[in-house]
């Protein structure tokens, strides 16, 4: 499973999911913390839609952690004050980088969590769609 997809599932999914995967790695491997969770900034680059040019919208506060597992570095970066999640993201990233055996069956778990996110998102959307305007012509 690619990094873009798995990091979205970990961040948008249940906090319990990331915690459980991290626990699996912690129980079997030594985790070396290269950089403790720290707060930093990420500048957002946006494409505006009038001239389709790029500009900087502003910065977002992020929490970043770096760890090493089996000689492979993992990075955890997430928007907001998220020390625990940032650490868990780093451990899981390192696990995938090191191709640890646990990661061979994780994709199934990720897919289940992804389906849960899709269902929740769909429920949220259904609620918003209740505010969709049904225009009626006044002269009809």
């Amino acid at each position: 499973m690619n990094r873009r997809r798995r990091t979205e599932i970990l961040i948008e999914g249940s906090r319990h999911f990331a915690k459980e995967l991290t626990k699996e790695i912690e129980q079997k491997y030594e985790i070396q913390i290269l950089s403790e969770p720290r707060h930093a900034l990420t500048m957002m680059k946006v494409r505006e839609t009038a001239k389709r040019s790029l500009f900087y919208l502003g910065e977002v506060l992020v929490t970043e952690t770096k760890v090493q597992v089996n000689g492979h570095i993992g990075i955890g970066i997430v928007a907001g004050h998220e020390e625990a999640l940032s650490y868990e993201l780093a451990v899981i990233d390192a696990a995938f980088e090191a191709a640890l055996e646990e990661t061979s069956y994780w994709p199934v778990l990720f897919e289940i969590e992804e389906q849960r996110i899709i269902k929740q998102r769909s429920q949220r959307e259904q609620a918003i769609l209740k505010t969709k305007v049904d225009f009626e012509m006044m002269n009809e």
Binding site: M43, M44, T49, L54, G58, L61, E64, H81
Partner: protein, 368 residues
């Protein structure tokens, strides 16, 4: 009277700061950050927008410390921002990927995907709700339960993750000209001083972090008579934008290797502005687009930004709202409040000098 340099006031300042703490807590009411985040959505959005720093927890803390004073909260956040390292830049964010929560158009009744009112004060009666004085936790829980149960009963098929943009539809219909993607690296006003003429990227960055009141007032002036803009809101969207960054050391150009880091809530506006273009002997009507985007749900500011974006791109420079220096150098919260506030600092020497001049003139005999 001779001039004398003075110092002192340390003890008075210490006492003043204690007095400030006293004013904040003397009612013995404690407000926690979660309560501010959960109940003051509009205030948090405004503070984050003017601070140019997206972080709800930090904004809530700044609001608490500043006792709800927006100007002070923005000052605190800007100061805090300067202590944090900037470690990453996101990949270009394409706003068509917004997870939409609200989307309206004043230009077209029927837009692809439809108009979604979402959550807005626009449709409320603006009558004081005195029932809120008696609101209880159990009332809220009951209301939420019934609202969430009702939500599950609706069925729709529209995907709000990628609603088509009105402007793209008009470009496809050849009503608006096609525009090529411009991938030039933007300039960053937080890294280098603004030079005139400003680039489009600098202009948009300053407008989006501008003081809400200042941006709104100047946008209003531009359409009221101190400008030549007559816009219609083509599309206004509120929703969350996904953020991704590249791997810091292993940049593969493959989007699948990116890190997803979360979302930010924004309001985005495209205003359609009719302009007359001279083509030979004839004048033809065309449309220009004014662009606005701000952190959080702050629709008035986003619309005003779109008006000023267009005003500042006009070549006329007939009105103050078309003058980059006038607009861009005066709308920043911190710069404007900082300069006005500095007037409270001791100006004893400069003022005494002026006073001496006045005394001298008064003593001189009046010549007839």
């Amino acid at each position: 009277m001779a001039y004398a340099a003075v110092k002192g006031g340390t003890k008075a300042i210490e006492q003043s700061l204690d007095r400030l703490t006293y004013e904040r807590i003397q009612s013995k009411q404690v407000i926690d950050i979660e309560t501010i985040k959960g109940t003051m959505r509009g205030l948090i959005d405004q503070v984050m927008s003017e601070s140019s720093l997206y972080g709800e927890d930090l904004a809530a803390l700044a609001i608490k410390q500043a006792e709800g004073n927006v100007e002070e909260a923005v000052f605190l956040l800007r100061a805090h921002r300067s202590t944090l390292p900037r470690v990453y830049y996101t990949k270009p964010i394409e706003t068509e990927n917004m997870a939409v929560e609200r989307r309206i158009s004043a230009s077209f009744k029927d837009i692809p995907g439809g108009q979604l009112l979402g959550a807005s004060h626009d449709y409320s009666h603006r009558i004081m709700n005195f029932e809120l004085l008696k609101e209880t936790q159990s009332d809220m829980k009951k209301w939420l339960q019934s609202f969430l149960q009702a939500e599950e009963q609706v069925e729709h098929t529209t995907n709000l993750q990628c609603l088509p943009k009105v402007v793209d539809y008009l470009r496809q219909e050849r009503l608006f000209p096609e525009v090529e993607e411009d991938n030039a690296e933007p300039l960053d006003v937080t890294k280098q001083s603004l030079q005139f003429p400003a680039t489009r990227s600098e202009r948009l960055q300053i407008l989006t972090r501008g003081n809400t009141g200042a941006v709104t007032s100047l946008g209003y002036a531009a359409i009221r008579g101190y400008g030549e803009v007559h816009p219609t809101v083509g599309e206004l969207r509120v929703g969350h934008l996904p953020l991704t960054i590249e791997h810091p050391t292993n940049q593969t150009q493959n989007d699948e290797d990116d890190y997803y880091i979360g979302t930010v809530k924004v309001t985005e506006v495209e205003s359609f502005i009719p302009v007359s273009i001279k083509k030979g002997q004839k004048e033809e009507l065309e449309f220009e687009i004014g662009y606005g985007i701000v952190f959080g749900q702050n629709e008035t500011k986003a619309i005003a930004m779109s008006i000023l974006d267009y005003s500042l791109s006009s070549e006329g420079k007939k009105y103050p709202t078309e003058d980059e220096e006038f607009v861009l150098l005066h709308i920043d919260s911190l710069e404007s409040s900082g300069f006005i506030s500095h007037l409270k600092l001791p100006h004893y020497v400069t003022f005494q000098s002026k006073l001496d001049s006045v005394r001298k003139i008064k003593k001189e005999p009046v010549s007839l």
